[in-house]
């Protein structure tokens, strides 16, 4: 691929990825509100558009035309940089997620991800750590007490659970022998004995730990202490309004979808699935499998929110450090033993 072609293709991929994410968020917010409403015997938004699907668009337009207030004690530069940082980090995570099988047109093969990094997993962990900066800066630069409390909570929570999140991925990396997301998906393409798909969900403890840590990482119920309205108003974005608030909202839901997409990629085989039909269908089907898997995980997120009460802050910390991290460490050791036995045989044999 020539330099110019690379530039054009990358540009198209970036635009498509951005449009895809924004569109996903539009649907996601509506789906969440509807599903939670159904769980509570309500209808949820059902007025704007068919079934209320345009409700998010209407809310977004409203926020767009609202005044963006700035508190007098705010650190202005950081105050306006924080929401941008939140959205940028959320968008950047999606860059390495493969949403479909590579497409071959002519002699060139295009991967259906913006870029395939060899250190994809590390990149994701690094970028989501950067997301903590957005939260911390937003809370501090607001110059107000509740946002500060919310951001301190949030930063502590995200840092704690990121450890568990990363540790849950170690067995996946060990079994897939790669940190590239495309490689991890590829490693899950086979079957066990021709029956079950060889998805990493067989690493069940990893899957469970990753999912729980993912809930906490995206600040969602039951770990949504950051936005515990009863205690600290809106948390770190209390002082934000208008489009700046919309940015945080957008980032939150992009993060949620990212986490679902990552769960699908790491544990549910990514875009792997039965392929049939003509050539074009063989390119479309992987995307559909990927979307179905992601949305199933999204439903898990919403389901948990509709079911579980918020846990207390000390419980949150204790659960993260005293349960999740030790369990994932033990599980990593077990996985290491399993790999060692597979490779070298039993030590006494």
């Amino acid at each position: 691929m020539s330099g110019l072609e690379l530039l054009v293709v990358s540009g198209i991929k970036v635009v498509v990825a951005f449009a895809f994410l924004v569109l996903t968020v539009l649907v996601l917010v509506w789906v969440e509100r509807r599903v939670v409403a159904f769980m509570q015997n309500r209808y949820g938004p059902n007025r704007a558009g068919p079934g209320g699907i345009l409700q998010t668009l209407a809310d977004g337009l409203k926020l767009f035309f609202k005044e963006s207030m700035t508190p007098r004690k705010a650190q202005f530069l950081l105050y306006i940089a924080a929401p941008v940082l939140a959205v940028v980090t959320a968008l950047l995570v999606f860059v390495v997620i493969p949403i479909g099988a590579p497409v071959t047109i002519g002699d060139t093969t295009y991967t259906l991800q913006v870029t395939d990094l060899d250190v994809g997993v590390l990149y994701i962990l690094a970028i989501s750590s950067l997301g903590v900066y957005a939260v911390a800066l937003a809370g501090w630069s607001s110059g107000s007490k509740y946002p500060l409390l919310g951001s301190v909570r949030s930063a502590a929570q995200m840092i704690s659970y990121e450890a568990a999140l990363g540790l849950a991925l170690v067995p996946v990396i060990m079994f897939s022998r790669t940190t590239s997301l495309a490689g991890i998906v590829e490693a899950q393409s086979g079957t066990f004995g021709g029956l079950l798909p060889a998805w990493n969900i067989v690493l069940l403890p990893s899957f469970v730990i990753f999912l729980i840590a993912g809930f906490a990482e995206t600040n969602r119920a039951p770990f949504d202490l950051v936005e515990a309205e009863q205690e600290i108003v809106g948390g770190y974005h209390t002082e934000y309004s208008g489009m700046r608030f919309a940015f945080f909202f957008l980032a939150e839901y992009i993060n949620m979808f990212n986490m679902a997409a990552l769960t699908a990629t790491f544990f549910l085989g990514g875009w792997n699935g039965p392929l049939f039909g003509p050539t074009w269908l063989r390119y479309v089907l992987p995307v559909i499998w990927f979307l179905i898997k992601s949305w199933v995980v999204v439903f898990l997120f919403i389901w948990a929110r509709g079911t579980l009460p918020r846990i207390r802050y000390d419980q949150l910390m204790a659960f993260g450090w005293k349960r999740l991290i030790p369990v994932s460490l033990v599980w990593i050791m077990l996985a290491m033993v399993a790999i060692g036995v597979r490779r070298f045989g039993l030590p006494w044999a």
Partner: protein, 214 residues
């Protein structure tokens, strides 16, 4: 296996929320469906007339006096002898209610000695201008034939039939002042409505009001 059941316990909630998704919804789809309001609902006020078209209001200002929100403004005037407005010495010359201040407590209805002011079932009174929220006598007083007036046209939200419903609060408090009013129907007949039908425990006074009932 009780340890297994215990372990599942915390996860039972997921089954509950999943099951609830397929249950019927409790939400009323307002404004397409409206809930049936209680008979004694406190809605917009109307100023009534007698069946012969005379205004019931005598301009005594008791409603304005008792109003806890001080939202009623009344000024009485002497009836012109040749063309009296109400069957009495005086009539309500100015009658205004500020609906933004009104708390819909119904004490004006209780205070009224002639049952001139009553409450209806209409509560959709949103306005786009604060001045429009002040209802003047033009809007409060019913037509000579008893049809209520309203500043806004009928629409999906505004069902003008609701303005014809209910002097329920009056029934509960008039005459005896007891909610369980027993005995004869004692309120005065109104234009259109005529004599109201008796409630439970009451006997029909069979008043000939010259108006063939609603």
């Amino acid at each position: 296996m009780s340890w297994f059941a215990d372990m599942l316990g915390p996860w039972r909630g997921f089954a509950v929320t999943f099951r609830q998704m397929f249950r019927p919804k409790v939400t009323t789809q307002y404004p397409e469906e409206k809930r049936v309001k209680p008979q004694r609902f406190h809605g917009r006020h109307v100023l009534n007339r007698y069946p012969d078209g005379m205004e019931k209001c005598i301009g005594c200002e008791l409603c304005a006096g008792i109003c806890p929100a001080r939202c009623i403004y009344v000024r009485g005037a002497d009836n012109p002898p040749d063309a009296p407005v109400s069957p009495g010495e005086r009539f309500g010359f100015v009658y205004e209610i500020n609906m933004l201040r009104c708390i819909f407590c119904g004490m004006c209805v209780e205070a009224c000695p002639t049952e001139a002011i009553t409450m209806t079932h209409l509560f959709e009174m949103s306005v786009t201008d604060r001045d429009d929220a002040i209802y003047t006598k033009d809007e409060l007083l019913v037509e000579p034939d008893g049809t209520p007036r309203h500043p806004q046209p009928a629409g999906p939200l505004i069902d003008l039939e609701e303005l014809k419903l209910g002097n329920g609060w009056l029934r509960a408090t008039a005459s005896s002042g007891r909610a369980a009013f027993e005995g004869l129907v004692a309120w005065t007949p109104s234009a259109t409505f005529g004599a109201e039908p008796p409630e439970r425990g009451q006997t029909d006074a069979d008043v000939d009001d010259g108006n063939e009932g609603a």
